[in-house]
Symmetry: C2
Subunit: 351 residues, 2 copies
């Protein structure tokens, strides 16, 4: 049994870098985004261009064989064996849950404020069965009464910073010196404040996972019907209710999914997107509140969003309801971040 | 296959009414608290004393046979057949989800503000196969942008009001003329404001159900271990975090259950009660906020709590953290409320 691995063409979007064909340039780095449920492997050339990408379902909780039976080696060989066969001496960098206590080798968290040098200083190396050393990027911990942790997002954040207009992926000054707000929607959505090129603080919202649990494992799911197409109006209605009634809390507003249905004000196929709007709206209301404590107005921010396009577009719509109209999507943050850290760590030299 | 039905002795607690022995007094009323997952049947004498109680798992979603095959009749006969065999002409009153669209007969909601007369006016009758008419109490709807509904709790609320000191269950003035706050913790916790003996408005918090979903169906459950005994300190810690960080919202604070564990500040067997404190704390923070909108201070209220003793005691502790020290438990609210409505409906005459 092995995880499914597929080759995929990079979506270039508005990226100005030319699409590279595998084999036409010399490979210089393998970099892995290795999370809980998936493994994405990138092959870079010496200029930081992505030559090839392989995606597998072999996340650390979904290895082809158990970890104690060599599951990490099996997944790594499956994803990267072809590349290493062609270019045996390639350096390898990995970020994400692969560095957690349940990962291949634990890379202890570095604490906020965390810059790229701290991440590089926290890299640990695990030797694969095939003899290759895999450098593992540490996660970031924000200590305190309500600690926060991230693994993988730190790499995407520095990738997003390097994608700023008028910056260059290999330019040390790219992260800039002013504060930036970066959002990473998803199962456990993260919002990070970057100051002076360091992750100063961040917040985690269990938005995606709570939405899934509410939909599948509470009474709310019983009357829901999946719509044929995403229902933006129902989504925005949910955001609006969360924004106006935020202080009542999600425990209270969530029940309106049911009562609006009972009173025939919300059709079954509007309920999934309405609830999605509610939970994302509560996330943004919470974000607005924690930013306000430090005298930062969410409406005045121009957040960079990292994640699946459709989800990020929803966040843009939701943010606009909070008066925050400057949000924009950043693509290829993961690859850019991996490359950037590899350069800083001396695994490759910036061209 | 039938639902399990058991006789049970009433817990008299601090109730000053004498325990009555079945058979020593004349039965005058059967009253049912018929919810989603259970059916509780009470046999009253003409003075409103409970002569006997039978408890069954035959809630409306758990009938002994499907509804369309006579499931309601089967459950009713199983619970009350013995009593009706002894006293065939007994009037029968039922409250709870039995009056919902999925129930025996739908009793359309009455709208807030809802007093006892409105409930009595909304009673519908269904004739059981055995020939007995069952009077079904309607639920209450609060219309609006975020509608709220209850079924069963309205009966408990009037029961609690009748249990006020210096009041009498059959006294029309018992509900008083001043505002009262009544809390009903549970799967879908309700908080009702009663003004001039009418349910003026109420709020629903999905506290119990969200706690269960977070524990069983998110990452938070993975590191939890059930404690040998309830951990009040961990519970109060959770309440405190919710109170201090309420504006960040439950989506944010819930994740601290995991991160405090990762940073060894919260042991696995402290996590369940900590999370319980978090969700109940967010409920109370939300309640405090919605009350404040109408210039009511939660701390100045003396809420009556209806529900399982251990859960109500937890709410008392949590409320005290919000400065609300006047909360007290009300027992036998269900029986009292059923009796009171039966009297008002003329099913029995108050002695």
């Amino acid at each position: 049994m092995t995880g499914r691995t597929t080759q995929e063409h990079m979506e270039q979007g508005k990226d100005t870098r030319a699409a590279a064909q595998p084999g036409t340039r010399q490979a210089a780095l393998i970099a892995l985004d290795w999370g809980t449920t998936s493994l994405r492997a990138y092959l870079f050339d010496a200029a930081g261009e992505v030559l090839d990408t392989r995606v597998s379902t072999a996340g650390i909780m979904n290895l082809p064989v158990p970890a104690e039976e060599g599951g990490f080696d099996a997944a790594f060989d499956e994803a990267c064996g072809v590349w290493l066969a062609q270019t045996p001496a390639l350096p390898v960098l990995a970020a994400g849950m692969v560095g957690s206590a349940q990962g291949w080798l634990q890379a202890p968290y570095v604490e906020t404020p965390a810059g790229e040098d701290a991440l590089v200083g926290g890299i640990v190396k695990v030797r694969a069965a095939c003899g290759v050393d895999v450098a593992v990027v540490p996660g970031v911990l924000e200590p305190g009464a309500l600690p926060n942790v991230m693994r993988g997002e730190e790499t995407q954040i520095f990738g997003a910073l390097s994608a700023q207009p008028a910056s260059d992926a290999a330019d040390d000054s790219a992260a800039g010196t002013q504060a930036a707000l970066i959002g990473l929607p998803g199962t456990h959505a993260k919002w990070a404040v970057v100051e002076d090129a360091r992750i100063a603080r961040f917040y985690t919202f269990m938005t995606g996972e709570v939405y899934a649990a509410l939909s599948a494992h509470t009474i709310l799911g019983r009357t829901m019907k999946r719509p044929a197409a995403p229902d933006t109006a129902a989504f925005l209605r949910g955001v609006s209710v969360a924004r106006e009634h935020g202080s009542a809390g999600l425990l209270a507003t969530a029940f309106s999914t049911r009562t609006l249905g009972l009173t025939e004000q919300l059709a079954p196929d509007e309920q999934p997107d309405y609830l999605s709007g509610l939970v994302i709206g509560h996330e943004l209301a919470g974000l607005e509140a924690v930013l306000a404590r430090r005298d930062v107005a969410l409406a005045a921010c121009a957040p960079q969003l990292i994640g699946a396009d459709a989800l990020c577009e929803r966040y843009k719509l939701a943010l606009a309801q909070f008066g925050c109209t400057g949000a924009h999507l950043v693509r290829h943050a993961t690859e850019r971040g991996l490359w950037r850290i590899a350069v800083r760590a001396g695994l490759v030299s910036a061209s």
